[in-house]
Symmetry: C2
């Protein structure tokens, strides 16, 4: 299979749905809707929604409501980026090659755009029109995955661990704990939500959860490496920001080459988890490989 084509095709599908599902910028409160669209439609890679779709495809059964379920993860991801970029957090001026949300709309509106996107994620996957045909028991399990993956024991907790580690002399296990929560839990939720939507068995769900945890780690290690090796053009933001902030990352502990090797090992392990799935899991396998090969 051609993974670049697959990713592009799914990205277009996700973008189209997000554009339709997000309130139009002309609808009051117009500034809020314009502001949340500014960040939502800023050209993300849509890795999380694509993982949801690919996980459902790996199970092979139809999954009514799959696209809204997938897109709910992008809403959560976008809200977390807007809040993480705020002056009181990472104080970032650029994101995806554009000024960050608060730089354009101000801090108050950026906080509220994040709040609205977070809630909109749950709105999307509980709307009867969008979720028609989805088994209600599965639907509630999907909602629960999103809530637990993005809350205080998941993504938000990870951001707290991350803030607390800045300018601290942290050890490797602290670093692992940050990433497990900050990026890992939402990627885990993305894969599990797709699998549940398609009616995965417990065994299948376990295998896919293992896959998600492995690629989540690979994803973060690759991000850390890119922060060192990437250019401003490739990243859409300034490189080397971690080192400037005194942040310890995987390259700090293992060097760039060691970190690359570690990410590759995670990818290999992730692919092994899919041994019982056959060809329908090829997109998941190729996504795993893509994670360490990407340039941004």
């Amino acid at each position: 299979m051609n993974i670049a084509e697959y990713l592009e095709q799914k990205r277009v599908e996700v973008d189209r749905f997000l554009d339709q599902a997000a309130p139009p910028a002309v609808l009051p409160p117009t500034t809020l809707h314009e502001g949340l669209r500014y960040s939502l439609m800023a050209g993300g890679k849509r890795i999380r929604p694509i993982l949801t779709i690919a996980a459902a495809e790996a199970i092979g059964a139809t999954a009514p409501g799959l696209i809204p379920v997938a897109c709910s993860l992008e809403l959560i991801h976008t809200y977390s980026l807007i809040h993480d970029d705020l002056p009181s957090m990472d104080n970032d001026d650029f994101r995806r090659g554009k000024p960050t949300n608060h730089k354009v709309y101000g801090e108050a509106m950026a906080i509220l755009a994040g709040d609205a996107l977070s809630t909109m994620a749950f709105d999307l996957i509980s709307r009867p029109d969008l979720m028609k045909g989805c088994d209600p028991v599965r639907q509630i399990r999907i909602i629960q995955e999103l809530a637990s993956g993005s809350g205080s024991m998941g993504m938000v907790g990870g951001q707290v661990f991350d803030i607390q580690a800045e300018h601290q002399d942290i050890d490797l296990s602290t670093l692992q704990n940050i990433h497990k929560h900050k990026t890992g839990m939402l990627i885990r939720a993305a894969v599990r939500m797709g699998a549940i939507a398609a009616g995965a068995t417990d065994r299948q769900l376990d295998d896919l959860t293992g896959y998600a945890e492995d690629i989540g780690l690979a994803f973060q290690i690759a991000d850390d490496v890119l922060n060192v090796t990437g250019t401003r053009e490739e990243l859409g933001k300034n490189p080397n920001t971690d080192a400037e902030r005194g942040k310890k990352t995987y390259p700090t502990f293992y060097g760039v080459d060691g970190a690359r090797k570690l990410a590759d090992d995670c990818v290999t392990r992730a692919i092994t988890r899919l041994s019982s799935f056959g060809p329908p899991a090829d997109p998941l396998r190729e996504i795993a490989r893509y994670i360490t090969a990407r340039k941004n």
Copy 2:
């Protein structure tokens, strides 16, 4: 019935559940959990959860999961207070007689505590252990009410309208639009969620929605009046903050006596909406009366 006793009894029940359901402060990330508990357990009146419980009682059928459903509204309400108090929003130093969340924990942690509480609301009402016995179709409807009531077309939208109106020479219809969204939509969701949990008919749901809209307006008018007439001791925060900020409120348009009369009219109308309900709706009737009689 004795409304003070009723409110106190339900408040204790809500507080007990919130205390059990919120992650303990010793659980990592400890600062986040301590911070969100600081605001969550700060002695709120718990009006929204109590409305949910009273609405279910008005229907008269058992409603499995009613207490988590009710408490989800307090989580959303608390998160909105934490974010509204932030320096870039209302910049308030006191809330419920205590320093505001960001004054104690800093801005970054306050934003994240709000984010975590918002997500926790959806976690609570999608957890299988807490929602055992709730019909899944009803449960999804409840989740949808919470999401739509608190999102960009509900509570968050209202906060945007409110911010945009500061220091503006707004007219009465703009003021009404602010309150309809900022406080009205969540109160409406509270009543509807309780009614849906107890299996309300469409007709009953319509009547209770009308009731909720009327008391939502009464609640806000009464708040505006209290901001003028209350003392710091009664309110737990500085009085007259609206006037100092140049905010137009109901007393600006109608005077204090005129605003009081308007709130009373809303209460009368709200009670009329309950004419088909009989004695099980007495708590809802008394809550409506309490709204304009309260001192904080």
